[in-house]
Subunit: 212 residues, 2 copies
DNA sequence: GTCTATATGGGGATAGAC
DNA sequence: GTCTATCCCCATATAGAC
């Protein structure tokens, strides 16, 4: 078993990922990071150049594999003669599920970080990443058009928007009802439990006949 | 027309609400707030005591009216012999819509702040507010049980969870797909447009027959 | 690559005059 | 209630020894 501690760069990335999601970008100091990573304070600037660049590196490490897994699922789906709505939804859920079950727990944390950074509307998502992965939305838009051809484009776009919203928040573990109650209504941490209820919910909403 | 500038306390609250949602709690300094509000740096500590207390005050000003509007809608609903799922969903949407259309724009900003603070998992939502408004979840849980009696409790809780998640994020203007594309898939800023598509989406998912 | 020491600036909070 | 001036702490970043 490999119990040797990873190199400095990885240790910083792992700790940063956790601290950024816990305290946010502004709320996390280099002192917290380097202390918990067991490295010297100057190490972040030596290895990454700045706190901003470190933040970006945290994303670049995990986002590409996630996107590529989704695109690969879409490739497979497109070879099928009659792709189902379930299949399309699962092409997004499956990679998220994979992340959520990451034994190192880094993946599960990353989805939360993505969610938090999205709501923070941070520069790294607005600029660096959005232009890099716009293909993702194009491919999914086309795929949704294929499985839901009877909806007009506007209604289809909204259902897609809502569906990604609920799926993403489910995996990020965002529980709106937590605002109003200490005890959670659902035990939203077991990924398989999430999917068991999430998939039928989203599919039902997507395939509902259009209102007149 | 009343063009007189509001008093110092209100000005600080208005500016804080906007800056907190824009830059987050940690990313907003008292210097930014007092400068934009056109008041002295010491004013925040004089009127609110601390930055933490100011943050809490920003919430307390708007959350109580929102909750009370929802509870009042539920009261009305419970006088009806056969409340519909649409009616129940609208009992949450209507007060959110009212906020989103607040002519001073403060309300619309507040929903975003609520969303951001939820994801930040800030102390003020975890401690101060959750115990104060746990009645909200109890009332909605009971109401969902009444309109969806055929679902088992677990499935109902999950559907309720997902529904609040998608509704709340819709009003907060959170667009997951923005991560991957500069241009938004939907023009998510017109509240009426949101509701026109949101209500059917949520209702379809809620009323779908339970899977075997 | 790693460390210590430090430069430089901004943060929240407050004392005390007006 | 409002202002100035200031305290003290912690932030990021870097210089330079090892």
């Amino acid at each position: 078993m490999d119990t040797a501690k990873p190199d400095t760069t990885s240790r910083i990335l792992d700790v940063s990922e956790r601290l950024f999601v816990e305290h946010g970008f502004e709320g996390t100091s280099l002192r917290m990071i380097t202390q918990q990573a067991g490295v010297n304070l100057a190490a972040v600037n030596y290895h990454f150049g700045s706190k901003d660049a470190l933040f970006e590196a945290v994303f670049l490490r995990r986002l590409a594999p996630l996107i590529n897994a989704c695109l690969s699922e879409l490739d497979t789906l497109e070879t099928q003669p009659e792709p189902s709505v379930e299949g399309l939804v699962m092409s997004f859920i499956r990679p998220c599920l994979m992340l959520s079950k990451d034994p190192s727990r880094g993946g599960a944390i990353f989805v939360r970080l993505l969610s938090r950074t999205l709501v923070e509307n941070h520069r790294v998502l607005r600029e660096t990443l959005s232009q890099q992965y716009s293909l993702f939305v194009e491919r999914y838009s086309a795929a949704f058009q294929r499985v839901l051809p009877d909806l007009d484009a506007e209604e289809r776009a909204w259902r897609m928007h809502f569906s990604f919203s609920v799926m993403f928040n489910a995996f990020a573990g965002n529980d709106v009802l937590k605002i109003f109650t200490r005890s959670q209504v659902v035990s939203a941490r077991d990924p398989d439990m999430i999917v068991k209820h999430l998939l039928p919910y989203v599919v039902s909403a997507l395939v509902a006949p259009a209102r007149i």
